[in-house]
Amino acid sequence: MKALLTGNEAVAIGAYEAGVFAATGYPGTPATEIIETIARYKEVYTEWSVNEKTALEIASGFSLSGRRTLVVMKHVGLNVASDPLISLAYTGVNAGLVIVAADDPGMWSSQNEQDSRLYGRIANIPVIEPSDSEEAYIFTKRAFEISENFDLPVLLRLTRAISHTNTVVNIENKRQEYYRQYFINPAKNVLLPPFTSKRRLSLQKRIEEFRQYIPQTGLNRVEIIEDKAGIITSGITYQYVKDALPVASVLKLGIVHPLNHQEIKKFNSMVKELFVIEESEPFIEDAVRALGMRVRGKQDGIFPWAGELNQSIVREAFNGIYSTSGEICEESYSTLCAGCPYLGMFYVLSKKPLFIGGDIGCYTLSVRTFPHILDTTLCMGSGISQAAGYSIAKKERAAAVIGDSTFFHSGIQAILNAIYHKANILVIILDNHTTSMTGGQPHIGTGKGLREAKKKLLIEDVLRGCGVEYIRRVGAYDIKDIENEVNKGLSMDGVTAIIVDGECIINKKKGGMFYIDKSKCSLCGECLSLGCEAIVKTEDSCIIRNICNGCGLCIQICENEAIKKIHNCNLCR
């Protein structure tokens, strides 16, 4: 059966047909839809885990029990999961364990553009890279076999342009059953001397055996056309090469780590000049150079390192025109929504000269409208500790904002540390009852799973358990209330916490609309300082556009009482 699928959907269907028992992960663009797709299959246990490290560890438990498991995350999530990943290469697996890392060259929705293939080299595990949805589907199935046959976790690396492109896929429509008996084996699974040394040597042996086996996988392929230029490439870059250089010969790698030396040497002998064209780091190129071959690529300044490539950049680079970078997201297309439950808190914070540690989530978008509120945005869970460090060193009060999902992901550890080491911070948890930036996935504070209801964990209970004594929950749309609570929370010493409660506006029913009475508007601009997307300034007054969600925040800050509710109006919707 033929279907038009995204790379993410193809991975999910491939894993389903490979007979996975479970799929775990944490939401993150561009990987999110893999778990959402596989959750449609009732036979597959799916969970949004609390973070990527936990997702990989629970997956390892599934694998040990004898069941194939898929683990899904974005590239920065793989950093969080890297601790278990590297040691899992030592222990190996029981049933197949495949980890999907979706990279984001160009940083369309990420804080960095790391190349996850490098983890293949650190952990010494196979890294497989598809170049369209059809390959994503096939390679996922093959990855499970490789994982079992060589007793290694396998990394399936995607990039944005693979994950979010629909291409034609031939689907078998047949689910395989898989089970492998578990036997207790501390010499394999307990990493303590003398077992560690044996596992280290075993790892070397397993990856070498796989290296020799690579030609038989059929995942790498040679396309000989003209012999003038030979190009080694992989992933989406293969597609750019085929468009840009249709007569070049190509060694298309589906397995980018390790490399089979004979395969590379043979291809090199068939062409006059050897090139490696790849996105992100010179990962394949460095490995080819290490074999002592003359090769052209990023290291000698032909192709750019940063950003996404495309067929123009490849063609021009080949003709001697160097681009300093590939395509990089230069401007955020996104802002906080009109009526976002974060606006009230940010309005209050905009009047406070404080160090405020930011975090990863929609609140980061506040930087577009309030450029001077957040002092930092680094990675998940980091803002609380950054504020703690700042407060201890400066001997002054600081604050941190973090979302509900991020709080559970990695904020808790930061709070424990801040309390124990006597940091002096106000922690503001923006609780919008969802993981909103990635499209509204449930987390353990929502009482929802991917398919079924769960028992909700309360942020207050967790905070109390961590040792936070001053905890207040405040509604997101009452500015006076928020201001009072912030003032109180800041007036005390130690770690205090405010939870700002307001459901993500995208999930909420609209509450009517407001308009500005021109005759009363003095153009003071106070309503604009709310940073609401709906409010804009014109020559004679501020106006509220029809994207207004009726949250009622602006009405509270207009001193001229110019903002009014529209009654019984259906014109603009």
Binding site: L4, K242, S332
Partner: protein, 160 residues
């Protein structure tokens, strides 16, 4: 960006909530159902916040790169006037007029692919099937009439 005319390239541009991705996926399906090789790619960034949404569809006998840039697309289906995109004189622009934007608030995307359909060699029956993949019974009948109104308006007025 492309060297030769081995492909038809269509770019869809609009703001979040206008159904840009639905329109491009339906168009990709219409090509797919007509036995083209087709690739559809989105730049959606942070999954569902406001701002511009771009999506591209490339169809041909064999499609490699899923990328096109606005300047070189054959057809651009644009849902708002203020996106600041540049198109070349070779690009056919499918753009709604103000009255249409008001009239088709909820299904401007499907109305627009109705217009688009008059420039592509795909049968109306195939378009219907492609639209069917995205909508249940009630939504389908509303959208299919928007599609045919779009087709009719393109014939009456040409493109804006």
């Amino acid at each position: 960006m492309r060297q030769s005319k081995r492909y038809i390239t269509v770019i869809f541009a609009g703001r979040g909530g206008q159904g840009v991705l639905t329109a491009s996926l339906i168009t990709a399906h219409a090509f797919f159902l007509s036995d083209y090789d087709v690739k559809k790619s989105d730049i959606k960034g942070i999954a569902r916040r406001g701002g511009m949404v771009l999506s591209t569809v490339i169809a041909g006998e064999k499609v490699y790169s899923p990328k096109i840039v606005p300047e070189t697309s054959d057809i651009a289906v644009v849902f708002s006037n203020d996106l600041g995109l540049n198109f070349s004189e070779h690009t056919t622009l499918v753009l709604p007029i103000d009255e249409e934007i008001i009239k088709y608030q909820k299904n401007l995307n499907i109305f627009s692919i109705g217009k688009l359909s008059t420039y592509l060699d795909i049968s109306p029956e195939t378009w219907e099937k492609a639209i069917r993949t995205k909508f249940g019974d009630d939504a389908y009948s509303i959208n299919i009439s928007a599609f045919y109104e779009g087709r009719k308006s393109a014939r009456l007025f040409g493109v804006s």
